[in-house]
């Protein structure tokens, strides 16, 4: 076998300038063949859905927007231990730790807290390693369908604590739910 005709994939076809026969030049056979494929697909299962009315079910491992959790008393769980930033393969997380003052005991759970906590959403790949690394169960990737809102400014994609920390009323509601049960 010569190098010109060898085909590792087995799909190589020789192109030729062969003259078409009379039946071939009518294209009738080819048109019927093509139509048959189209008609066959009418009876097959549809692969698309009617999007705004229907939505697809989320996978059980779906990972959406991050959230920094609060505990039952509404205090922030994060202690700025830096393990999320260490595990982050995209290096999207930065933080700065601060010591808790005695009058802030109702705000932060531990002696140390994150005064700045930022996730660069342009870098984040939503792999969920931060959630896995967190020893305090502080950072979670929620099931929120909204991942990152579109914007034209790069600054808008740096999510600080004001966007990441769980809203206080949500924490209150969670605690009420827990005590009710």
């Amino acid at each position: 076998m010569s190098i010109e005709t060898i085909s590792l994939s087995g799909r190589k076809k020789e192109v030729s300038n062969k003259k078409m026969s009379f039946w071939e030049s009518l294209y009738l056979v080819a048109i019927v063949k093509g139509l048959l494929i189209t008609i066959r697909h009418l009876f097959k299962r549809k692969v698309t859905i009617k999007y705004p009315d229907q939505t697809r079910e989320l996978s059980p491992v779906y990972r959406g927007q991050h959230m920094l959790m609060r505990d039952e008393e509404g205090r922030e769980r994060c202690t700025a231990c830096g393990l999320c930033a260490l595990s982050c393969p995209a290096e999207a997380i930065t933080m700065k730790a601060e010591e808790r003052k005695p009058e802030e005991k109702h705000l932060y759970r531990e002696e140390k807290y994150a005064s700045i906590y930022e996730i660069n959403m342009l870098r984040c790949i939503f792999c969920g390693l931060c959630e896995e690394a967190c020893p305090k169960q502080a950072i979670y990737l929620t099931k929120s369908r909204v991942m990152v809102k579109p914007s034209s400014d790069r600054e808008d994609f740096i999510y600080g604590k004001e966007k990441l920390v769980m809203p206080l009323d949500m924490a209150i509601k969670n605690t009420q739910m827990k005590t009710a049960n």
């Binding site: 202690t79 700025a80 231990c81 830096g82 393990l83 930033a85 260490l86 290096e91 930065t94 700065k96 730790a97 601060e98 010591e99 531990e110 002696e111 140390k112 700045i116 930022e118 660069n120 020893p135 305090k136 790069r154 600054e155 740096i158």
Partner: protein
């Protein structure tokens, strides 16, 4: 004298302890040590981490020793045979000792500044179990202020006495010791007096856990985000050889150089440790190397990376000038020097 540790023979001087002999051999069979410190006289024998099995006492008396021996205080005999990691009993004992040490040790590694270079963390990673069986309340102490340079967390202390020996042997008048007994024993500067000795900062380096930490470095950075560099300066009080823990161009912490057993090579004075946080004060020798599996090596590059030069339009390579601004951490502004580098795009 000839000793055999885990099947490896070595000839040592009389008077050497089993631990020192094992360290001469090196490798896996070196028992862990939490309280023994080769630079401090009289240290060792307290934590029981270094227990080994002596399967043959000596050539003259080949009977095995009935109990496991603390290798840091047991001297070698001629013809002694020692089992360290090859003995099931030793591994079991180490596991139990680790569990005992962790009974009162709080699980606050995420907060602790020692995390990442902590001996107890390494020990429990290797020999400890992931779960605790202890249901009683842990022993806690009132926080005590022992000065503006050193932070004492008595809850984390494992009572190894290393710091007391440092204070005893390095400084002339000791203001720091252990008060009370048994479960209530605690480290304290007697009468809560601030430690203002020239070499008192070495207690931080000597502490195997996070009980004594640098107050000037408190919560500044996790150790694995720092880049350690060997550096020296002319100091009339000590050798001046230190490790600088840098973050960017900022010196965040200065410590003595620690060897593979996390013991300082040479003690340094407080002036070097606390007062010289400017890069111009130091002659930087190069990056400090750590064990391969140390968390400190995480994300560290040992050499400076030169920007690659490509001949093309500036906007293609560096983007528009107006886009080149600091978008992360706006609350921490760049220093003037850093801003210039940033504007040029060589970051």
């Amino acid at each position: 004298m000839k000793v055999t540790i885990d099947g490896q023979e070595i000839n040592v001087e009389p008077g050497t302890t089993i631990l020192q002999a094992a360290r001469m051999i090196g490798g896996e069979s070196v028992p862990p040590a939490m309280c023994y410190y080769s630079k401090l006289k009289g240290s060792g024998g307290k934590c029981r981490c270094c227990l080994v099995e002596v399967s043959k006492g000596s050539e003259a008396d080949p009977r095995p020793m009935p109990k496991l021996m603390a290798s840091c205080v047991t001297g070698v005999m001629d013809g002694m045979e020692v089992k360290s990691i090859t003995s099931e009993r030793v591994l079991d004992a180490r596991k139990s000792v680790t569990e005992f040490l962790l009974i009162n040790h709080p699980l606050d590694c995420p907060i602790c500044d020692q995390a990442g270079e902590c001996d107890l963390q390494n020990l429990s990673f290797k020999h400890g179990s992931a779960k605790t069986r202890y249901i009683e309340e842990r022993r806690t102490f009132e926080p005590e202020n022992i000065g503006d340079k050193i932070q004492l967390h008595m809850n984390r202390c494992i009572l190894c006495y290393r710091c007391v020996m440092t204070a005893d042997q390095l400084t002339d008048n000791r203001v720091h010791g252990v008060v009370n007994r048994g479960d209530h024993a605690q480290i304290s500067t007697c009468i809560s007096k601030a430690i203002d000795n020239e070499f008192s900062g070495n207690m931080i380096d000597v502490c195997p856990v996070g009980a004594l930490t640098d107050k000037t470095f408190r919560f500044k950075q996790r150790v694995w985000f720092n880049k350690p560099f060997n550096a020296h300066r002319d100091c009339d009080k000590c050798c001046g050889k230190t490790t600088l823990w840098m973050f960017g161009n900022e010196i965040q912490r200065v410590t003595a150089r620690k060897d593979q057993y996390h013991e300082v090579e040479e003690f340094i004075c407080n002036e070097c440790r606390f007062d010289h946080k400017d890069v111009n004060d130091w002659v930087i020798e190069g990056p400090r190397k750590f064990e391969k599996d140390s968390v400190i090596n995480q994300n560290n590059y040992t050499r400076e990376i030169e920007p690659v030069k490509i001949d093309t339009e500036k906007n293609i390579l560096l983007g528009r000038d107006k886009d080149r601004k600091k978008i992360s951490m706006p609350a921490v502004p760049l220093k003037e020097k850093e801003e210039k580098v940033y504007k040029e795009g060589n970051v």
